[in-house]
């Protein structure tokens, strides 16, 4: 149905344009008065355009302001991390400044266009330059920008620099692959064991290295549902198995790409449990709306989500993981139910160790054998 309407709308619009064109061509031919060419400098609609430059922007500013105000609670995602508490105020300050710049300059542009529209005996003011003005409007933006950067710089260092990361962070590994996430907890030693993409097979999706003793207590989750404790810093060790992915956690205002062959990292500190956030959202009208997909109110569905934000193929749009932020007690209870991978898959591990030792000894040779036939192996650059 919709497509029919769209097609009709398109045809109608084209039709209207064409009609306007024909009619106005005919009309101008008929109505051309002798002497009407006197002022051929401009077309007759010149003032109309000037006026439109006032009317349309007014409507536009009004509509944008209305939407921005009315739906503020919808388009701003709730946030609950230490990084977000630093960047959110910066974002809104910067937004206020750019809205001011946007409005002032656009208004000047449109107003001048309207005000100085063509007059038959008008004459433009010959005004080729003014060095003082140029200097002013070089320096003023420079100062505003410098202030903005310095505040951003501080937040950037706090959030991204490894040196500024809390030393006692709990280590969790996340691996992106087409098209899901896989998660491993470092276990009691808080160290994740080595892994190698050559060890990957149907049972060992993350390529855990069982010859590394640090692997023994590592817990690999069956589903990408990361449990973390409120207020406790987490160090995410990020990698990818096949192509680029990106770990984006919108509610924490954080993001880091997952790169095959180059491990990356992110530190975050959640500041509100999932339950607390649901509680808080339950008071907001826009969150009481029923979500059609689940049949529940939106706040009941609320979850901290990880979305893949680097295009990775067909299933990119559904590469989701959930972060459950909870209290220490809840977390401990959950953790008690988890079992290290090595314990859960004893038989497999025994066999895998043999294979891994062999691969390690033979180095890349095995790879050459298994590499695509027809793909020539050359030196690695």
């Amino acid at each position: 149905m919709i497509q029919l309407i769209l097609v009709f709308a398109a045809i109608l619009i084209i039709g209207i344009f064409f009609a306007i064109f024909r009619i106005s061509t005919l009309a101008s031919a008929v109505m051309k008065k002798p002497g009407a060419e006197k002022d051929s400098q401009v077309s007759s609609g010149n003032s109309l355009h000037g006026a439109l430059f006032i009317i349309l922007p007014l409507i536009g500013f009004g509509a944008a302001g209305w939407y921005g105000y009315k739906y503020f609670g919808i388009y701003t995602q709730p946030h609950a991390s230490e990084a977000a508490s630093q960047t959110e105020p910066l974002f809104w300050i910067a937004t206020a400044i750019i809205i001011a710049m946007f409005v002032i300059t656009n208004v000047a542009l449109f107003y001048f266009a309207y005000k100085y529209r063509y007059r038959q005996n008008g004459k433009a003011h010959f005004y080729p330059d003014n060095t003082k003005l140029e200097i002013v409007w070089t320096i003023v933006p420079a100062i505003i920008l410098t202030t903005l950067i310095f505040t951003g710089w501080k937040a950037w260092r706090n959030i991204m620099y490894e040196a500024n990361a809390p030393k006692n962070a709990q280590v969790i590994e996340i691996m992106g692959y087409q098209f899901a996430w896989m998660v491993r907890y470092a276990g009691e030693d808080n160290k994740i064991g080595r892994s190698d993409f050559r060890y990957v097979d149907a049972s060992n999706a993350m390529g855990l290295d069982f010859t590394d003793p640090r692997t023994n207590d590592d817990i690999q989750l069956g589903q990408a549902e990361i449990h973390v404790v409120k207020g406790k810093p987490i160090e995410l060790k990020i990698r990818a198995r096949d192509v680029l992915h990106s770990v984006s956690i919108p509610h924490f205002r954080q993001k880091m790409d997952a790169v095959p062959g180059m491990p990356t990292r992110m530190t975050f500190v959640p500041t509100m449990t999932t339950a607390e956030m649901r509680q808080e959202l339950s008071t907001r009208p826009e969150w009481q709306v029923i979500d059609e997909t689940t049949g529940k109110a939106r706040f009941q569905n609320f979850n901290y989500e990880i979305a893949c934000q680097e295009v990775c193929g067909r299933g990119h749009f559904s590469m989701r993981a959930v972060i459950i932020v909870e209290t220490q007690e809840e977390y401990d209870k959950w953790l008690a139910e988890q079992q290290p991978y090595v314990e859960k898959n004893k038989d497999y591990v025994v066999k895998a160790i043999e294979k891994q030792k062999r691969i390690k000894k033979e180095g890349l040779t095995t790879m050459r054998e298994s590499a695509n036939k027809g793909v020539r192996q050359t030196a690695s650059f």
């Binding site: 084209i14 542009l109 409007w137 790169v259 650059f381």
Partner: protein, 629 residues
Amino acid sequence: MAVAVQHDDAHVHDEHEHHENFITKYIFSTDHKMIAKQFLISGILWAFIGGLLSILFRLQLGFPEMDLSFLRFLLGDWIDATGKLDPEFYLALVTMHGTIMVFFVLTAGLSGTFSNFLIPLQIGARDMASGFMNMLSFWFFFVSSVLMFQSLFLENGPAAGGWVVYPPLSALPQALKGSGDGMTYWLLSMTFFIVSQLLGGINYITTVINLRTKGMSFSRLPLTIWAFFITAIIGLLSFPVLFSAALLLMFDRMLGTSFYLSDIYVAGQALHHTGGSAILYQHLFWFLGHPEVYIVLLPALGISSEVIATNARKPIFGYKAMILSMLGIAVLSFIVWAHHMFVTGMNPFLGTIFMFLTLIIAVPSAVKAFNYITTLWRGNIRFTPAMLFSIGLVSFFISGGVTGIILGNSALDIYLHDTYYVVAHFHLVMGSASFFGMMAGVYHWFPKMFGRMMDDRLGYIHFWFTFAGVYLVFFPMHFIGIAGFPRRYYSFTAFDAFRIMADLNSFISIAAILTFSAQLVFGFNFFYSIFRGRRAPLNPWNSNTLEWTTPINPGHGNWVGQIPYVYRWAYDYSKPNAEQDGFTDFIPQNVPYSQTPNSNLPYENELIEIEKEEMLPTDTTLHTEKVPE
């Protein structure tokens, strides 16, 4: 229409004139004007294709539930049995849209058209430095176009990894259908494209440096030419880097090298690649990619400088500041690329450096905006369609530019990177602004290209619908971006956080369809006017630049007889006392100061002596041609 060009020592192409046939005139032409038209028409055709692709994926985004079976005639099996668009083909559509718009429309269609058309005409040259290379430039572009177009119909579809084609995705056919033959076509096509750009660029640069007419010093060049000149230099320095990026990617794909690939397990198999760096590709790509956005934008800014000054009947405000800021932008554009990579795992210290460099580039951009606005101030503005599009350009440039200040702030970009906020930013500042520059150029120079006028009522309709349409499409995307919606998502239903604002997405799609329809008005107007438009007068916009001193339909060689000399800059509009010298509100560049004693500024009077000695004795155009009254 073929105007016989008189023999002239300076004119190297004379021999060709006499045996000009259809093929040498319209196809393998070495005339810069014909080559410009070839670029323009290809660009327009590409723009319609690129636009159509965007409508297809906007249908998916705006109406995810919609039954798209009716598109099967066009897309075949990419629409599945239930009428749903294939998610991989969605990515292919996005990728092709981006590639086509950035490279084929806004680089070749805009810069290729107007650099070719205007450089010789505005600097007073018979043609480009090498007409043959110029012709090659178009034909390399043509081959590139054919390859890209053909790739749309491949069984596995065209390239689909985004217009940036990051490896490993773009290197592994196992990971994505489009990374098979489609990607090979993409790389080949881009290789030809780069060759075309380099041939064109070398020509533009040498022509501007060597073939300016007497008196046309760099300080008298119209800003259009400055813009094309700087653009060509940027392109010459940055496109080779894209070439090396593409070449290494080809090696990784075809020869099994590991420049970009490392530690990959895909489709049930561990690959042999080790030691490569996926980030290396991104550095190389954006080393072109960022300059590219200015390659796209600067010609548009140049065009609008010319159009705004002409139609405000005022000199462009701050001619020197405009040149300086373009030079500043050109230099800085090479050292900000990594702002596209803040969260790729690059060392955050580098991120800090690039944040500082990026925000510096905002300053010259701001200066340009202020200068345009001041040019309108106290003008006597005629709203020709070209003028409207130029004003629209300035508005988009500002509206899209201000969000760059937020994105350039690396701490804020962590959240916004790869969201619709970025999409809104660059579609306004680059996409729409440059597109409007192109349209301004077409409306303004159409009379010079085809000797006829475009219909201005249709032009007005085209402008207002497009201007409103662009804002209706891209402004709401800021809200979607603030809500964190990721780019290149086929659908937003998989996430609780993104199951909102579906109505806004539908709104955007409807606005996009309307805006696209308005382009049909342009298409009609353009092609209709080529054949049936009103005949153009010699200087329809009362403009100062040299191209309007050529015959209405200039032949190969541009001027009959001697090329006019240039005595003044291009912006003597509404000069005080010009009436007493017998001029109205404009004094063309080829009018000597000695003819305008009343309106000359003090330092201009001093130039009269030099003029009398060095120029006037040999300037035969002054005797044969009447100076416009």
